[in-house]
């Protein structure tokens, strides 16, 4: 279960963000909506433990973020949280297959090559195993970045505007795949977006 309590955050004390409390069970998904500048990305980075909130509590399953040191938070994130960004990024000098293996290595998981192949097949990238990231189309890149974050079977998947640069067909495909993968791994899924095309596909949403 993911649970947040009265999180607020400030950059240099100038603009202050107060975030609503959320509660999410395993395999639940949540859409976070809002216009530019309301702190959507800040919220997701706080949930990822990349930014420390000024006050408030975050619990992911039994772990309280406030009780983790910086290093412990890094390791915790590596193992338990998968992130997907608006513009997918990869390790440029590794092919897609090796990028996934690296993700497993860094999150201290077993480098199970069979599972990597299987996942890439599921995401329709079965013939792109040896491709370098720069050689993929935008839709393929976004699918590969889903693979990169779900290969370690995280408890929480955080997606920051995953569809905003995609066409309609790819947009629908990405959302479908994200939901499938989250359900399969019993992961909690949070998608931040201002993309109206996907609003209808989630029954739980909050607006910042």
């Amino acid at each position: 279960m993911l649970k947040t309590e009265s999180i607020n955050f400030t950059y240099d004390g100038l603009s202050k963000f107060n975030f609503p409390d959320i509660q999410l069970n395993n395999a639940d998904s949540l859409l976070v909506l809002g216009d530019s500048g309301v702190g959507k990305t800040t919220f997701i980075q706080i949930l990822a433990g990349l930014l420390k909130p000024k006050s408030g509590q975050i619990h992911l399953d039994s772990v309280n973020y406030n009780e983790l040191s910086l290093k412990e938070m890094d390791q915790f994130r590596g193992r338990r949280i998968g992130m997907i960004f608006q513009n997918p990024h990869f390790v440029r000098n590794l092919n897609i297959f090796d990028n996934l293996l690296l993700s497993l290595y860094l999150s201290k998981n077993i480098q199970d090559e069979k599972r990597v192949t299987q996942l890439l097949n599921e995401l329709g990238l079965g013939n792109k195993l040896d491709s370098m990231p720069d050689d993929l189309s935008q839709g393929e890149q976004q699918r590969a970045s889903i693979a990169l974050s779900v290969i370690k079977q995280p408890d929480l998947i955080l997606a920051d505007e995953p569809t905003s640069s995609l066409d309609d067909v790819n947009c629908q495909r990405i959302i479908k795949l994200l939901k499938e993968q989250a359900e399969k791994n019993k992961s909690k899924l949070i998608i931040i977006t201002h993309d109206n095309r996907i609003k209808t596909q989630f029954n739980k949403s909050i607006t910042l």
Binding site: T41, V91, N93, L102, S103, L106, K108, L148
Partner: protein, 415 residues
Amino acid sequence: MNISRLAWRNIIYNPLNTILSILLMTFGVGVISLLLLLNNQIDKQLQDNLRGIDMVIGAKGSPLQLILSSIYHIDNPTGNISYKEVEKLTKNTMVDQTIPLSYGDSYNGFRIVGTTQEYIDLYDADLSKGVLWDKSMQVVIGSTVADITNLSIGDMFCGTHGFGDDGHVHDHHHYEVVGILKQSNTTIDKLIITDTKSVWDVHNTHDHHTCEDHDHHDHHHADENHNEDIYNSEKFMITSMLVRFKSPVAFIQMPRKVNETTNLQAAMPVLEINRLTSLLGFGVQTVNLIALIIIIVSGLSIFFSLYNSLKNRRYELALIRVHGATKLQLIKLVFLEGLTISTLGTIFGLMTSRLILFSTSFMVNQQQMLNSIEYILITDELWLFSISLFIGLIASLIPAIITSKINIPKVLSNA
């Protein structure tokens, strides 16, 4: 997949930068290593041939010339001296051993040296074939001489006056090869060694056999009665005298005595060789400095290429951190990239210098040089290795620090 493999991929997927950095490192290390090896070889040759000779007495002239001609046989003699006069000086309790040298003739460019058999002992030279001479006009030849001239036991030849090919041929006098020495990697390999009497005979007697007269085997070498007592003859001249001291006091007293009270010259090999190597050393140091600058430039090139690639890979590095990489792993990644390049450059450099040395000595057919190439690292090269690695380390340091301080949320939100 792990950090080392990732570092390796980053290196090979950036071939132009990598090759430039490695080439610069190879070049710098190669030049220094080549100089170190050559220096080492020259030093070794110089030292190997000293053989505990403390002083050389010869005719007045350049002391360095006297040393070069008498010990290394690479310069012309300074002139002749009277054996009697030298003997007077060296019949002294401070003197341990004296060996007279008479030279001035050559055969096919190889010097014919008249001396005593103690000279062979001085170089610990062993015979590979034949025997040592027991009378005048018999010679023992060094291994290089045997290889190149194809002379073998029983062969006869005539010496040429001087060391070039165009000198006067002493065609009334045949030398006979009676022994061939094993290779010793010293100057003796390139000498034709005979008794002092032979040189005396060639220059002071006349007999009537011609060199072309190869069938003539019953010739008598020289008038033995005439030469029986050459060491006591006032007219007996030698070229120089190698001297070994018994007591250290002699180092101070003997040269002064010779130089101040006689027409002769005493030269101290150790002093002259030090003078020579310090002269060479200056040139070597200049080239070393230039090569060191090349290594530093290579370090800079490693620095720039790491720095640049990190700037381009900021998002990638943040991503790796998000996936769970620790700061230490990122630092390790950067250092591995820098150190791999500098290590490869250094190893290639050390290999290149050996390859150059090997191929040049092979091409000029310098067997002696070929045999003395050090294929393992010499001490100075361990320093060179450490310095290059250190430079690689320094070059990686700043990029590593920048990497470890990367602000992940900021990088991710600016993407």
